[in-house]
């Protein structure tokens, strides 16, 4: 028999997978570091408005989120289609904002308290009436640093 004429007797060597868990763990750690826990499940529609002069919110621990928009389809029977406010997982009224912000501030580190930033995630179709009411409530709660959450628009 010639040296090159091999019959199918020899099996393909099994691929060594012993390092696969390590690879996956590396991926896992990567994702654990670069991502953050999703804060809340949204109950309102939120499509951010577009802007160009954006600033990044650096420290997540300083940021408190307030959502406002049209209730999602499954909540519309209860809540109607008017713009509503969502604080954490709860529906809220404008009058609840002051207490909410105060509570959130109490939870924060004392050093960080004056640096508190409130990110307003408001749907682009919302009307300014409710936005102004929210702003007035924030002023009364002395949460003066705010950020209107928006997405990048490419300049033409």
């Amino acid at each position: 028999m010639s040296k090159f004429n091999k019959t199918g007797k020899k099996e393909m060597p099994a691929l060594n997978t012993s390092s696969l868990p390590d690879l996956i763990f590396t991926l896992l750690f990567f994702f654990m570091i670069v991502t953050t826990m999703r804060e809340v499940s949204l109950k309102v529609e939120f499509r951010a408005p577009q802007a160009t002069e954006l600033e990044k919110l650096e420290k997540k621990s300083l940021v408190t989120f307030i959502y406002a928009g049209k209730p999602l389809l499954q909540y519309q029977q209860q809540m109607g289609t008017e713009t509503r406010i969502q604080l954490n997982e709860e529906w809220a009224e404008v009058s609840d904002i002051q207490n909410f912000v105060m509570n959130e501030r109490m939870k924060m580190n004392e050093v960080d308290q004056p640096m508190m930033l409130v990110s307003l995630k408001i749907d682009r179709d919302a009307k300014m009436g409710i936005v102004s009411d929210m702003k007035q409530a924030l002023r009364r709660a002395y949460a003066l640093r705010i950020s209107y959450s928006s997405i990048k628009r490419e300049n033409l």
Partner: protein
């Protein structure tokens, strides 16, 4: 002595990869990667009555009235303007390059690094909107106003240090801010 070395049976680790995969997928689902961006603004402190009275005493040439009405039209000093023109209008107003009579008055001001500069320190951009204005238009207008300030600051810092404003150190930034202070006053929307 005479004992044979017994081999320890190896633990089957072929499922570790699967376990790790499950954890990985869990993290992919529950976390979000989006870095939050937004227009950062500072709200004025809760207003006292005296302050309101003071505000009304600003001279007319120092005010740029920016009004967004309920049909999302933009009115600058009561003329209809498109949003794309607003940035130039605001820049001209803030800078007042030719010392125009109708634009804000300039006052000498001592600024670090620059010496004495003529600054339109008393200018106010008064932004007001209707309760029915859409949030999207409001953000677009805010964005143009902030862009006007940012462009002026960038221009100044390029002239002086050949660097964009964002790369200056905090003292230099403070000096630039003193020359172009950001004064956007927002009145409560009108109710009809």
């Amino acid at each position: 002595m005479g004992k044979k070395k017994r081999s320890v049976p190896e633990i089957n680790s072929s499922s570790t990869a699967d376990i790790a995969f499950i954890i990985l997928i869990f993290f992919l689902v529950t976390t979000s990667m989006d870095t939050d961006m937004g227009l950062t603004r500072r709200l004025p402190e809760p207003q006292q009555d005296e302050q309101q009275k003071q505000d009304q005493r600003i001279r007319e040439r120092n005010i740029l009235k920016v009004h967004v009405n309920r049909d999302n039209e933009l009115l600058v000093n009561d003329e209809v303007t498109s949003i794309s023109e607003l940035r130039e209008r605001a820049k001209e107003f803030i800078e007042n390059p030719y010392n125009d009579e109708k634009l804000p008055e300039k006052r000498p001001k001592e600024v670090e690094f620059f010496g004495t500069v003529m600054v339109t320190a008393n200018h106010v951009i008064s932004l007001y909107n209707d309760r029915m204005t859409s949030y999207e238009t409001y953000i677009a207008v805010q964005n143009e106003l902030i862009a006007a300030y940012n462009e002026l600051r960038n221009k100044l810092s390029e002239e002086k240090w050949h660097m964009p404003y964002a790369e200056l150190n905090s003292d230099q930034q403070a000096a630039v801010k003193e020359i172009y202070p950001q004064i956007i006053s927002e009145a409560e929307p009108k109710k009809y």
